[in-house]
Symmetry: C2
Subunit: 313 residues, 2 copies
């Protein structure tokens, strides 16, 4: 049965209401109306989740697609030290898509939204000419002037990363190789946890100078910090929270699809070993110049080129 837009909006509205996540003036008007706390600025991020580009129907169960869709936006808010407030879902669906797929997709998205007290406040729907097309917008807020940008790193800053690296892309590589995976056994890939609490802690304690999430992979996103800050950097291979061996190193450096935070801090700042239950590793240093280098255990260094995430289209 072809999806009716009206009924789709109704279903999403009902699902959001059941989850207690309906903005008071949201889905159903021309715009959502959202108060921000006094003295806060708005944060806005948008992220596509396109079938066969960001996910595959034969690899990802629908609740994982919904979870990942929202996680991308929440992770961007986390990377600014922000507080997520509301999400907006634009969803174009092919006529032949079973309603059960949509229901599970929305349920996966709303479950993650509830975890972060984010309301699903609006969006758009259309029939898709080809494949499932989702675009998620997350509105967040941050006290004025306190958003953590990519551009604040300075020579001498230490470089840190949250969590562990490489297992998300390792799962993706197994999928690419044709292996069937149990989603719940590979949560870093199927149900990544955006590091919202870590980002807020770092911002509240005024600990960091620059931050980014590494959804594009460590080497590429460190490149973003260096480019925006006008600096170089060195990464200590041995210090990376990665699986052992050459593969572990490559996955940690260049594997994308990762929702950890990469941040810099002045050397005199004391960064906790663990924040909100997430381990923090010191993995390098910001340098003057514009080069990124990788230092290995034997004391040698080599150039580190941005070589992260390519879409798997």
């Amino acid at each position: 049965m072809p999806l009716k837009e009206k009924s789709l909006i109704e279903r999403i509205r009902r699902a959001a209401t059941l989850h207690g996540q309906n903005a008071s003036r949201g889905i159903g008007d021309d715009c959502a109306v959202l108060p921000l706390p006094r003295g806060h600025e708005a944060l806005v991020t948008t992220d596509f989740s396109l079938e066969d580009v960001h996910f595959r129907r034969e690899w990802h169960p629908p609740d994982s697609v919904g979870h990942r869709c929202l996680a991308r936006g929440l992770s961007d808010i986390a990377a600014m030290g922000g507080i997520p407030r509301a999400a907006f879902l634009s969803l174009a669906l092919p006529a032949e898509l079973p309603q059960s797929w949509v229901d599970k997709f929305v349920a996966g998205l709303l479950k993650l939204a509830a975890q972060f007290s984010v309301s699903l406040a609006g969006g758009d729907t259309a029939q898709s000419p080809a494949g499932i097309l989702a675009d998620i917008v997350v509105l967040g807020s941050v006290p004025a002037g306190q958003a953590i940008l990519r551009s604040g790193a300075q020579s001498g800053d230490f470089l840190y990363v949250t969590g562990t690296l490489g297992s998300a892309v390792a799962a993706l590589n197994q999928l690419r190789a044709g292996k069937k995976l149990r989603p719940r056994s590979h949560p870093k890939h199927f149900y990544p946890e955006p590091r919202v609490a870590v980002g807020q802690f770092l911002r509240e304690k005024n600990l960091v100078s620059a931050m980014v999430d590494i959804s594009d992979g460590l080497s590429t996103d460190l490149g973003h910090i260096c480019e925006e800050s006008g600096t170089g950097a060195v990464v200590y291979a041995e210090a990376l929270p990665a699986a052992s061996g050459k593969d572990g190193l490559t996955l940690a450096l260049h594997g994308g699809d990762e929702y950890e935070l990469l941040f810099t801090a002045r050397p005199e700042r004391r960064i906790p070993k663990q924040i909100a239950g997430v381990p923090i590793s010191r993995i390098g240093e910001i340098l003057s110049g514009q080069q990124m280098r990788l230092a290995t255990a034997d004391g040698k260094t080599q150039p580190l080129k941005p070589a992260g995430w390519e879409h798997f289209g």
Copy 2:
């Protein structure tokens, strides 16, 4: 040549900067950071513009597609009485699309943005599996508690509409019939003007009880006001600002793709005949009950069913 995402973002950033529309902290970080005026609430709207659903490459020149893409979002902000602040463009493009198409699309969008002092503050890009996929987000603001909702109409309110009705969909029908049109000769279809100034005036003067834009067509969007307000309505056929004849009436009642505002006001409110250069017509009345009816010159009434805009997919 396949489009490189990086270069696309760079081109948009450069184009936005040339137009003086780059938010101070926008494209290039994880989120855009946007201050709102003190005491304002955020307004957020998202709208797809999908090839072969909302536009056709053989019908619409790229600058018209860009203009229409942003106009949809601005019109939603106008319908709340809001002030548009920033736009976010998510754009997925097929690999074979000429760069010149993208450049003209962005130019059309930025020209309209400049007209309304809206910055292009971020977005996302991807390669599209099929066709051009755009999703526009507009962030606006409104003094807290003053957004004009669809739900405020009361029995006895008068019903008004801005501008003229029917010519946008008349142009579309000519395109459907295979006729070639000169875009600049049919601005209501190719370059619609969102009624932002009218919406703001009505809100500032506290004149209206409910408002909606009629992008879905008058009959459908009046249905939205009635549904959200729990009322019925009567429309006077003779009062519609439409072309004469039965066709003119049908196009005015049910033609979508229209960016006029439909609003209600208590009968004691004096609504100007023209606001910001746009004529205002009183076309009906809000009634108790839930029925919508059409009153014709002979004094008879008939049921008015929502039968507006269907995508031309």
